[in-house]
């Protein structure tokens, strides 16, 4: 009975995404995109890959956490988690709220970012903006607003995410992820 409990608790621990559970790979970084809108995810991933960068990048896509435990050993250390919130889908929002429980608390010290899409079409918003802002506030993570259907905005968002990823992976000397996230906090948050 005890053994089973211990096994289960271990399993639960393993299903949580942890920021420093593996050794980093030289000159590379990994980003995890979590969101229910798979087309947008794929488009964003492709745009990120096309950007000019001088390190290797691996992009992982997921619709929700926890990540399947079978591929855990092949997966590299995740440096940045981007939660893609589509304001037009309540189901997606609830999904993301549920996934947040499977993220280790240390991730929220600057290695998590919320990407909010779909704000352009005000008539189809089914998620309240105050709820989204509250999410960003509670988890002390930056909110990035963008409309990923437009290519120009997609490219600039990809560049921003790449820069954040560089910092979170430790490639920028003197700037740590925590320091950077403190810089990203706007004056509205206080």
């Amino acid at each position: 009975m005890q053994r089973q409990q211990r096994f289960e608790s271990q399993r639960a621990k393993m299903s949580v995404v942890r920021p420093f559970d593996k050794l980093p790979v030289l000159n590379s970084a990994a980003i995890l995109l979590v969101g229910t809108d798979e087309d947008l995810q794929r488009q964003l991933a492709q745009t990120i890959l096309k950007e000019k960068k001088d390190f290797k990048i691996s992009i992982h896509l997921a619709t929700s956490l926890p990540l399947p435990a079978e591929r855990d050993h092949i997966r590299p250390r995740i440096d940045l988690i981007v939660f893609m919130i589509n304001v037009q889908s309540k189901y997606g929002f609830k999904n993301i709220e549920a996934s947040l429980a499977h993220v280790d608390a240390n991730f929220f010290l600057g290695k998590v970012c919320f990407l909010v899409t779909g704000v352009g079409r005000v008539n189809h918003c089914s998620v309240d903006m105050s709820a989204v802002r509250k999410l960003g506030d509670v988890y002390c993570s930056p909110l990035v607003f963008c409309e990923l259907e437009l290519e120009g905005i997609r490219i600039s968002t990809a560049q921003r995410l790449l820069r954040m990823l560089q910092i979170c992976a430790g490639h920028v000397p003197g700037v740590s992820a925590l320091f950077f996230s403190s810089l990203m906090r706007s004056s509205n948050d206080e």
């Binding site: 420093f20 509670v138 988890y139 403190s182």
Partner: protein, 303 residues
Amino acid sequence: MMVQELCERQGFLRDKQDELLQEVEELAKHMSIYPHNLAPKIATNLECPVNAKEELLDECEAMWKKLEECQSKLTLLGTETLTDSDAKLSLLMMRVKALTAECNQWQKQTPEIISTNPDVLVELGKEELQKVNHDLEMVLSIFKARNKKLKEDLKREQQWLEEQQQVVEALSVIEEEMKNQVVQFSEKRAFQELKIKMLKIKEYKEELSSALGEFLEEHFPLPEEDGSAKKKKSLAKEPTMQLITLHEILESLINKLMSAPHDPYLTINDTFWPPYIELLLRYGIALRHPDDPKRIRLEAFHQ
């Protein structure tokens, strides 16, 4: 206290790891200049490295070992997830601890000097200069584009300004012309026109009054005095009054009305021939005073 220390340690280790990673990567980049593969573990112990490559390899190795040590320490620390209820508070506490740890570490840290090997320094210098060159080229192109745009904007604005000035000039010319006309008009012409009007009206008035006089003389003459003189003599007490014509009666009525509109009443005396008074009253040309039968006025046809 223990927890705080642990958190500090954790923060310190994380930062150390990040730092080491950065340095490792930089060195790895330099290593790529030299056509050798970087093996992850070199078991040999080089005493005095002769060339730059070996020195760099050594540094890499030392850093990687430190990295592994930090990693092993980190894996010992457990995971914790945030619950909904106190997520913000616990997260903020964590942030405070981590930031203080990072701050302390920055204060304690002294900058490390990179290797003094001249080959390494030359390569590093080259790379720095290339980066700076690239950045400056980007800046230059941005400023050129901005400059061009500003010039175009300036040209457009100047054109607009010119057009507006032309419009202003044309309008001021028209204004001048109009001003002159207006001045002339208001001073001379209006005066003359009024004069002419006045003359015309006076003429018309004279025409009307003469026509009226003629009409009245023809149709409403004063009664003859021939027959009644004898009868009057027999009575001998009545004085003979000079009767005034209907024309005169009307004239005096009009004048009274025009000159004193608040009191247009005329007192009837014996110079007024009574039948004519009756005539005026019956046809509504004159009105009696409501209190005094001896006073009459002209009906105000103009009001």
